[in-house]
Amino acid sequence: MKYLDEYRDSTLAQQLSQRIHKATKHNWTIMEVCGGQTHSILQYGLEDLLPETIELLHGPGCPVCVTPLELIDKAVAIASRQDVIFCSFGDMLRVPGSQNDLLGVKAQGFDVRIVYSPLDCLAIAKNNPDKQVVFFAVGFETTAPANAMSVRQAKTLGLGNFSILTSHVTVPPVITSILQSVDNRVQAFLGPGHVCSVMGWKQYETISNHYKIPIVITGFEPTDLLEGILRCVLQLEAGEYKVENQYARAVEKEGNIAAQSIVEEVFDVSDRMWRGLGSIPKSGYKLSYDYADFDAERIFQLETISAEEPAVCISGQILRGLKKPHECPAFANMCTPETPLGATMVSSEGTCAAYYKYGRIGQTK
C-alpha cells in the first residue's frame, strides 16, 4: 500500500537497526509517548532489532488507558438510560468501569453505538429528535479538533439533543510530570507524531531546553520508530538535547492552525484526572462557557458518581516507565485483557495489554 509499505521496508529497517547498534555506546532509556507507537513497536517486534543497551519505556499516550474509572462509570450511567443513544469509538466499549462496561450496557438492550467520527453523531441526533445523543469525547490533542467541530456544528444547527462526555487530555503536561518525578528514568522521548501534526512542536522545545532532554517527534511505522530511536541515540551519545522532527511528512513546526483555533474556541484548558497517574494541573480540556450546554456531565447531573482504582494495580508506575508489566504480581493471572484491573491492560494499546498480546518470545519457551 502506497505511503505505508515504504515505511515497513525490511531492508531499510535492517539498515536502521545496524546504524542504531553502531551508534549505541552506552545504556539509554527512551520513552515513546503514544499508544500507537507502543502498538507498532510490539506489533513489529522492534525491540528485537535494538541493542540490549537500549530500553524502551512505554509512555502514557493511550487515551483509552488514561481515561479515569470515574468517567467510565459516568459513561455507563448515561448509556443505561432509555432516552439516550450513546456513541463511542470502538476501543472504549470494553473498558471496565466499577460495575459494568459499555458492551455490557449494550447487551442489556440499551442503544450503544460505535462511531468512527464524532460528526456521525450529529446525523444520528438529527434522525432521532426524541433521543439524547451523547458522544464519548476521548483522546489527546489528535481527536480534539474533530470533537470540537462536532460541538460547534451542533450549535450552528441548533441540535439540542447532542452532547459530549469529555475526557480530553494533552501530552506536554504529562511528560513534564514524568520528568519532574524524583525517580524519573526517561533520558529521551519519541514525541507524539499525530499530536504534533495538530499542535506543532514549539511546546516541546520549551520542555527539551528546560529538562535538557532530546525529543524526536516520531511517526508510527516501523522505520519511523527506528529512525526516531536512532536520532535519540545520536543526540544522547553526543550529549546534545534538542527537538528533531522525524515525522516531517505529517508534522510542521506550527502545526495545524485551523485545528488549533477550533479547539481553542470550543474548549478551555483544565486540570484533568489521569487513570493511574492522578490529577495533573492544566493537562486537558473541558467545554468552554459558550459551549457548556453541550456538556453531558451537566445535562445528566452525574456529580454523585465517584470511583477508586484497585489497590493492587501498578499501572501508574508502568505509565511513568518505572516498572514493566511482568513486574506486577497481578499481570497475566488476576489481570488479563478479559479481566483488566487497570489503565494499561484495558486498551490494546496499553502497555500491559500489548505485552500480554505480543509478549516477548523468550517467555513461552
Binding site: M1, G45, D48, D91, R94, P222, I361, T364
Partner: protein, 349 residues
Amino acid sequence: MSESVTTSFNCRLPLDSSGTIRLGHGSGGKMSASLTSSLFLPILGNPILNELQDAAVVEGCSQIAVTTDAYVVNPIFFPGGDIGSLAVHGTVNDLCMRGAKPLYLSASFILEEGLPLSILEKIIRSFHEATEKSGIMLIAADTKVVNRGAADQIFITTTGIGIVGDKVPSANAARAGDVIIISGNLAQHGMAIMCAREELELETQLLSDSAPLNNLAQKVLETSDNVHCLRDLTRGGLASAVNELAQSSSVGIVLDEKHIPIHPQAKAACELLGLDPLYVACEGRFLAIVAAEDAEKVLQAMRKDPLGNNAHIAGVVIEDHKGTVILKSTVGGNRILDKLSGEQLPRIC
C-alpha cells in the same frame, strides 16, 4: 358444495397479498404448507426432500463426517454473496476440511415476521445454486417464523453430512517440520461485510471470498499423502485458526508476515479502521499443513485452481513454543500472535 365455495375456503394465502412473511407462515398449518409448496420446494426440491418425511432415509456408508452451523450474518446480502450461499459454503467447507466429500445437507430457516417473500426467494435461490455448485444435496429442511424483532430478517442453521475418504486431515496431526500453506488472500469476506454495513461510509470494490472449497481440498488431498491438517479461516481469521492448530497438535507455529497474502483493499480498509487483517474472517480460504517434502507440489496444485491461485507458503511448524504462534514481522522482529480477547474493536488512533 360448489367448486367456487370450496375455493373460497382455501383462503388465498398472504404469499401473494402482503408479500411478506407473517407469523402464520410458521404456524404449521396451511400457510406453512403453502410456503413450503409454493416457494421452498419449487426451488430447493429434489426426490428426497419432496417426500416431506420426518427424516430422510438415504444410502449410508461406513464413516461419515457431520458438521452443524448457524448463519446470522448482517447484512443478509453483501458484495460477493448472501446468507443463502454462505450457509451452504460454510457447511461444505467444514466437511471438506476433514477430507470428506460433502453429500447431504439439512437446513432450518428462521424467518422474522415481515420479511418480504421476494427477499426470501432470492436467498433460497442463492442457497440452491450454491448446493448445485458444490455438489451437496438438501435432504431435510424446516422453517420457523418468529415475531418481528425476535430474529434479524432471516437466520439459517445447517447440518452437513459427508463421506470420509481414506485421508482424514485432523487438527491434532501437525508435526514439527511441516509447512503451512495459505490458499489465498485473507480478510476479504470480513471487510466486505463491514464496508457493506450502512454505518460505515467506506466505499470499496471488495467482494466476499465466500466459496465452496471441496474441489480444491480434494485436489490437495489427491496431490499428497502427507496433508496433516486442513482448516478453513472463518471467524477469528488466520490468527485464531493457527492458534487452535498449534494447541490441538501441541506444536509451535512460526508464520512469516511477508508471505501471508492479504487482499490490498481489505488491508487498506483494516488500516483505516485500526483492525488487524490476521483476525478478519474469510469464507473461502483455508490453510493446509503438509509435510515439507510435499509442500511445493501441493502449492502448485493449489495455484492451478482459481480459488487457490494466490496460495502462499507462509510458515513452518516447530518443536518449541508448544501451543504458541510466533509471527515474524515484515521488518524482522518477532511477536506472539495470540487469539482475540472478545470481539475485535476499532482503535481510537
